[in-house]
Structures are given as C-alpha cells and as structure tokens.
C-alpha cells in the first residue's frame, strides 16, 4: 500500500512539472502571438493601399511591359511552403504538409520547392520533392528585412526565368482556434483591374518605372504578409495546444489526487482494523 502511494505521489510530482512547462509555453506563445498579430495587422493597411493604387493604375496594356505583371507560359512552378519553426503546436505542421502533398501530387508540371521554417526535415522528405532552398534562420516574429530576403530570392528566380509561376502555401489565420491551409499565386501578379474608368494619369518619372516599383512593393508586402500570417497561426496553434495540455495535466492531477486519497484512506482503515483486531484478541485472553 505504501509503495502504491509513493508511486502515485511520484506521478503527481512529475505531472506537476509537466504542467509548469506547458503553462510557461502557453504564456510564451501568447506573448509571441500578440507581437506577430500586431505586426501583421499593421502591414495590412500598407498592403491594401499599395494594392489599391496598383489596381487603380494598371491596365492590361501597361501590365504587358512589366515582367511581374505579364503572364507567360508556365513550364516550371515554384512552391514556397511556410512550415512552423518547431513542433508542439497540434496538427499545424502535419495538416499543412498533407495539403501541400495533395497539391504537389495534383500538379503534373515541373516543380521546385522552397521551405521556410525549421520544423520537419524528415517529414518534408515525404513530399518526394527536392528542396531547392530552406530558410530556417528567421526569427519567431519575422522582420521586414527577412521578408525582403525571401522576396528577393523568389523575385530573382522569376526574373532569371528559373521558374514561371510562384505559389505560396501556408496556414491562413482565421482565428486563434482555427487556421486553414491555403495557397496564393504570388507571381505573375494579377491586380484587380479598377472598375472605375481610368483617368488621365500623370506618371513621374514614367509609367513603366512606376509600375515596376509599385509591383515590387506589392510583391515584397505579399511575401512578408504571408510570413507574418503563418507565424501568427503557428503561435496561435501552439498556444491552443499548450492550453489543452495544461488542462489535461490538471485533470490528471485531480484524478491521481483522488486515487492517492483512496489509497491513504484504505491504509488507515486497514491499520485501524488491525489495531481493533489486536485489542479484541488481547481482551479474549
């Protein structure tokens, strides 16, 4: 009996330690979530304004002169997969990997894969697609320079003609509890053509230079926004997973405490019965 009580106490202590770890991880994730969500929300306004301006001034005739806006025959597609930087975030990474696998399998064109995130070197191998480059040194809340580094790499490949289409694959952040795998065609860009009739615009210095500059800006924003959205989703997923883990440890501790009390109670009952039995035996003598 004493042995079983000791075993239960040891388990409770071990679960309490786990609880402290999951609780700390939840708090760290909550703080990182706030930071990346703030950065992401801040970027949205800038992104919207730049897209609106591009849509307002872009016509198909002008777009044909800008490499980023001009559609060309697609022979090779570059998929950019935004995985998490580490595990312990529920099904966040696995779900995205399944989505990416289905997408890659369904695409019969020539493909290449760029991975952003430190997680799952072995798991990425299951995609049966050679990884062209892995960006695994980015911070937990990416900064604009890191966004620019990735965007410049992708832009250079597109301009060199190494690939003719670039698709971003990442977890769309819907809410703290829900993220959904999604894909976004980054290049060639297809700005929404404005419904309002085009005004006679003055371009300074000239239309081509400006559209080039504006499309570059929109591209850099899109890549940085995807990075931030993916990171926000990862922190949210980890926070949710750690909250569930903390709740589970609390449940387990309550269950084990009950078991410990039962064991202690039965030990006391046994002891009392033994004493009473001993006293009765002495009386009969």
């Amino acid at each position: 009996m004493a042995n079983s009580m000791r075993a239960i106490r040891t388990r409770i202590r071990s679960i309490e330690t786990t609880r402290q770890i999951t609780l700390s991880m939840r708090m760290v994730s909550a703080s990182k979530l706030r930071r990346s969500q703030l950065a992401w929300n801040s970027l949205k306004e800038y992104d919207k304004v730049s897209r609106d301006i591009l849509s307002g001034v872009c016509t198909s005739a002008k777009a044909d002169k800008i490499p980023l806006l001009k559609a060309r025959e697609v022979r090779r597609v570059c998929y950019v997969l935004f995985l998490g930087s580490r595990g312990l975030c529920g099904g966040y990474n696995q779900q995205l990997l399944r989505f990416a696998r289905a997408m890659l399998d369904a695409d019969s064109r020539e493909k290449e894969l760029v991975v952003v995130g430190r997680w799952g070197r072995e798991q990425v191998a299951q995609l049966h697609q050679e990884v062209l480059r892995r960006f695994d040194t980015f911070a937990d809340t990416p900064n604009p320079e890191e966004g620019r580094e990735l965007a410049d790499f992708l832009l250079q490949r597109y301009l060199d003609g190494a690939c003719d289409e670039i698709v971003l694959v990442y977890q769309q952040f819907i809410s703290v509890l829900t993220q959904e795998p999604t894909s976004l065609k980054l290049l060639p860009m297809k700005p929404k053509e404005s419904e309002a009739p085009l005004r006679d615009l003055i371009f300074e210095p000239d239309a081509e230079t400006l559209l080039q500059k504006l499309s570059d800006l929109v591209l850099h924003n899109a890549v940085y926004a995807a990075m931030l959205e993916a990171q926000t989703g990862e922190h949210a997923a980890r926070m949710t997973a750690m909250t569930a883990a903390t709740d589970n440890t609390e449940e387990l501790i309550a269950k084990l405490s009950l078991e410990l009390n039962h064991a202690r109670q039965s030990a006391i009952t046994t002891e009392i019965s033994e004493i009473v039995g001993g006293a009765n035996a002495l009386e009969k003598k």
């Binding site: 800038y46 301006i53 307002g56 005004r199 615009l201």
Partner: protein
C-alpha cells in the same frame, strides 16, 4: 485658403500619419514640386528627403521621409513609405 487636401502617409511597419493641408511639396529624384487643391491625378516616385506642407492658414510642417510612392487623386495624397518622421522644422 481652406485645407482642402487630405495628406496621408503609411509605412510598412504600420505607422500612419494624416492631416488636412492646403499645400504640399514633395521631393522626387528630379527635384521637388508643389501641389495645390484640384491637382490632376498623378502617380509619382518619391526620393528620400523632406515633405513640406502648409495647414491652418500659414502654419508649416515637415515630414522627413525615405523613398516611396505617392498617389494623387481627387484632393487626396497618399504616400507609401518605408520610413517616416514628423519634424517641426
């Protein structure tokens, strides 16, 4: 002259700045130029420098900016910048 132009600046890190003004002077690679109300629609590349604006009659303000793009349409000037600083002089 009433402050008929809405000048608005946004940066990539989410900072935004706006004010009703009557006159704006924007720096470009080929020199600076001024904008009064009812200016023709214009898209223009900005150079690193200082934006000068007039408001509340004769009051003058300055914005130190990095390079960017400005869109001028319907008395609304939007500046897309990578950096921005509101300076007094």
């Amino acid at each position: 002259m009433a402050d008929a132009i809405h000048l608005c600046a946004v940066t990539q890190d989410g900072r935004s700045w706006e004010r009703q003004v009557s006159y704006v002077n924007l720096p470009t690679e080929f020199g600076s130029f001024g904008i009064l109300k009812n200016h023709a629609p214009m898209l223009c590349a900005l150079a690193k420098g200082t934006v000068k604006y007039r408001y509340d009659g004769d009051a003058v303000g300055y914005l130190r900016i990095s390079d960017g793009i400005s869109n001028i349409a319907d008395n609304e000037i939007t500046l897309l910048l990578s950096d921005l600083e509101d300076v007094k002089t």
